[in-house]
């Protein structure tokens, strides 16, 4: 009788434990399948978002229009300090709201008086820059961009009334260095922002860091000023510049 009781009790225990195991197994399975379902849903959501993005990208036309621009800083600074008179226009093409190939053409002349009271006078010189901007946001009404440029210019200049002193021999005279010419080329990296302000008009500013690639030296001088690049300091082959542009988008665009 005692044995029968033991056997029955063991059997009940066994059955009970297997039921509990089965219950815990089924709850783990349930949570796993819920997790999998969640993951599936997320993957589907991501895929849908990706597809939507792709659709949006595909719906952006390759040709998004042409924008003309002009820099306001150079003419503005001439009003404050009558040294450098520059005028620049640019034309850029919008490709997919992402890539903006750009051409910048300008003219510049300098009449600078140094601290030692001599003059650097350059004749009106043209400069050109070509390059590409990359928009970090694919929306044409407001975006930050980075870009690269290659620029070149040719300048003719005179330096008048340079004081030369010879301390040991007690000499002092002023000399002129005339008819100097120099061809220069440089590369730039650009960072900027562009914001649409009204209808086809936008504005934006950019900073640029220019690296001088080469500048022909004359028998009598280094050029002090390189149109489109800036001041040419001895011992330095770089310059910085800032532009503040107003743009107008020509009223034709590519079709979707």
């Amino acid at each position: 009788m005692k044995k029968i009781f033991y056997y029955s009790f063991s059997l009940i225990l066994l059955l009970l434990s297997s039921t509990i195991e089965a219950q815990s197994y089924s709850s783990a399975q349930r949570s796993r399948s819920a997790e999998e379902a969640q993951q599936r849903r997320e993957a589907e959501k991501k895929a849908a978002e990706k597809a939507q993005k792709k659709l949006r990208r595909d719906s952006i036309p390759l040709f998004g229009g042409i924008t003309l621009g002009t820099d306001l800083i150079a003419p503005g600074s001439y009003l404050l300090k009558r040294e450098k008179l520059s005028f620049q226009v640019s034309a850029e093409v919008n490709l997919k709201n992402r890539y903006y190939p750009i051409v910048e053409l300008g003219t510049s002349r300098m009449n600078l008086t140094s601290e030692d009271d001599y003059n650097f006078k350059s004749k009106n010189a043209f400069y050109s820059r070509v390059g590409l901007n990359y928009a970090f946001q694919q929306r044409p009404d407001f975006y930050f961009y980075g870009g690269i440029r290659y620029g070149f210019s040719h300048v003719s200049y005179d330096i008048l009334g340079i004081p030369i002193v010879g301390d040991y021999w007690g000499e002092s005279q002023r000399v002129d260095i005339l008819d100097q010419k120099s061809f220069s080329q440089w590369a730039s990296i650009v960072a900027g922002i562009k914001v649409k302000i009204y209808k086809g008009f936008s504005m934006g500013w950019n900073v640029r860091y220019n690296f001088l690639i080469s500048s022909t030296k004359n028998a009598n001088s280094n050029t002090w000023f390189i149109p489109g690049y800036g001041m040419n300091q001895a011992g330095s082959s770089s310059s910085t510049a800032v532009e503040y542009n107003i743009y107008y988008q020509l009223p034709f665009r590519g079709k979707k």
């Binding site: 800083i73 140094s114 601290e115 030692d116 650097f120 407001f142 330096i159 340079i162 030369i164 010879g166 301390d167 040991y168 021999w169 007690g170 000499e171 005279q173 000399v175 260095i177 922002i193 914001v195 302000i197 009204y198 504005m203 500013w205 900073v207 028998a219 009598n220 001088s221 280094n222 002090w224 800036g230 001041m231 040419n232 300091q233 001895a234 011992g235 330095s236 770089s238 310059s239 910085t240 510049a241 800032v242 503040y244």
Partner: protein, 162 residues
């Protein structure tokens, strides 16, 4: 126009002066132009130093000396006139290789001048192109023009042989 656009426009105008102000790094080049004359022994073509030497330019204001009984001098640097094409210097040799000597020679450079504008910070230097050099031979044996162009680099221009 949205507020952030106005903010960006204002920020850009504030940032401008600070960015435009960068870039003046001062003069980083040598701007002195001197004829460097080195002393050599003719017997072995080796450089040597004078124990005592005095050098001055002929006609310099107040007879100012370039070197006054300078010791251990294996070369001298001579500033040429910038607006005439002839400069003379007197070398007074007073001691060499522990011997007392007292001999004078005059060296005259004939040359062309050429102004060279380096930059606003460095200013303008005058380079010289030597045509010829004449000299007396009281103590100097001979001389060699090593480099005709005298520019703002520390180069050996003239070798004086003794």
């Amino acid at each position: 126009m949205k507020p952030y656009k106005i903010l960006l426009a204002l920020l850009s105008l504030i940032l401008l002066p600070s960015i435009v102000g960068c870039g003046n790094e001062g003069c980083q080049e040598t701007i002195s132009v001197n004829a460097r004359c080195s002393f050599y022994k003719k017997s072995n073509n080796k450089s040597f130093s004078f124990d005592s030497i005095t050098v001055y330019g002929v006609g310099a204001p107040d007879d100012s000396l370039l070197y006054n009984r300078s010791t251990s001098q294996s070369y001298v640097k001579l500033p040429l006139k910038k607006f005439t094409e002839e400069s003379s210097y007197v070398f007074h040799f007073q001691g060499a290789e522990s011997e007392i000597i007292d001999k004078k020679d005059t060296v005259t450079f004939y040359y062309k001048n050429q102004s060279y504008f380096i930059s606003e910070d460095c200013g303008t230097v005058v380079h010289h192109l030597v045509d010829s050099v004449i000299y007396t031979r009281h103590y100097i044996d001979s001389l060699i023009i090593a480099k005709q162009s005298i520019i703002n680099l520390d180069e050996e221009n003239l070798l004086l042989l003794f």
